[in-house]
């Protein structure tokens, strides 16, 4: 299955998460008008979500995202987890 979801961060930015899944999440693509330092950390954020089971808990996703060495600007790990779970629905 392939799906995507968009989250509008209040007073912030827009995130779109596209992903494929079977029993685990694969091929994550994170796009939007947010900021990220360093910019190269986008791939690490995607990798943090990839491989997670489709019934992953929000809290587990947040922990995996927060473990990435990146500064998220205009959104936070919770928003990215929200978009990921919505794309899995």
């Amino acid at each position: 299955m392939h799906n995507s979801a968009t989250v509008n961060v209040p007073d912030g930015k827009l995130l779109e998460v596209g992903l494929s899944y079977d029993d685990r999440i694969t091929d994550v693509r994170l796009t939007g008008d947010f900021f990220l330092e360093p910019p190269e950390s986008r791939a690490a954020l995607e990798a943090a979500i990839e491989g997670q089971p489709v019934d992953v808990a929000h809290e587990t996703l947040v922990e995996a995202i927060e473990a990435v060495d990146a500064r998220l600007i205009g959104f936070d790990a919770g928003h990215l987890a929200d978009a990921t779970l919505e794309a899995l629905e």
Binding site: N8, R29, G32, F35, G74
Partner: protein
């Protein structure tokens, strides 16, 4: 270290975006004074945010038919439609230790001199977090930053007299079948300086220049031929290629 104001040079959008990396790298390496640079373009273009999906933001067929360059920036943020003479774009290249480490605070700090300059020509503008310069009628401009080990790039584009109907043809926010995303963007209406002030674009740039020069003791500067040559090379290798611009 004397701050510099570089107010010269017309370049294509790929070369302009390439210059951002070249000059940020030079500042990072201690080879460039802290600088303000004004941009002059030679054709309409779209400056796409680093993390945006090309096909989500741009009317793909329209930009192809009209030969509008779509160039992915080094910085995040949203897509801007730009036209020569109708927008004002400038960049700041600064040492990291002179900029607030708090990114949200640094946007406000680095926009403040420009807001003061715009107010001096009669525009009722203010900073709106995270990265907008707003007028009561809408968004007049937006900034974006990139940080390297020692440098901060902060660049801003503002609408002087943008052709809004054309912008709505070029960017997908103008499509009738609007997604949630497009509704959000369209709600943030674009405000144009010419709808509110009589000052010419050159007058506005003069106000920006003199405000910056007074506040930071800045002197005129110039781009080295080597920096421009390096930017042309990076434009050919990266910013003018589909591999970079359409990577997402």
């Amino acid at each position: 270290m004397t701050a510099r104001i570089i107010d010269a040079g017309t370049y294509s959008e790929p070369v302009q975006q390439a210059l951002e990396g070249v000059l940020t790298d030079r500042l990072d390496a201690g080879e460039l004074d802290p600088s303000l640079r004004f941009w002059y373009r030679d054709s309409p273009a779209v400056a796409l945010g680093r993390f945006q999906a090309y096909a989500d933001e741009v009317a793909v067929d329209y930009v192809a038919e009209h030969d509008i360059d779509v160039v992915r920036r080094l910085t995040g943020g949203g897509a801007m439609y730009v036209e020569p003479g109708a927008v004002i774009t400038y960049s700041l290249y600064l040492p990291q230790d002179e900029v607030s480490a708090d990114i949200e605070a640094s946007y406000a700090e680095l926009d403040q001199w420009a807001i003061d300059a715009l107010q001096s020509v009669g525009l009722d503008v203010s900073h709106e977090p995270l990265n907008d310069i707003s007028h009561p009628e809408g968004k007049i401009g937006g900034s974006a930053q990139l940080r390297t080990d020692n440098a901060v790039l902060h660049h801003t584009t503002m609408s002087y007299d943008l052709d809004i109907p054309e912008m709505l043809r070029v960017l997908r926010i103008g499509e009738e079948k609007v997604s949630d995303k497009a509704i959000k963007s369209a709600e943030k209406r674009v405000a144009r300086m010419t709808d509110h002030i009589e000052a010419s674009r050159a007058d506005v740039i003069d106000a920006l220049t003199s405000t910056f020069a007074d506040r930071f003791d800045a002197e005129p500067g110039e781009l080295s031929a080597e920096a421009v040559e390096e930017a042309r090379q990076r434009a050919a290798d990266r910013f003018g290629t589909d591999a970079w611009n359409r990577q997402l």
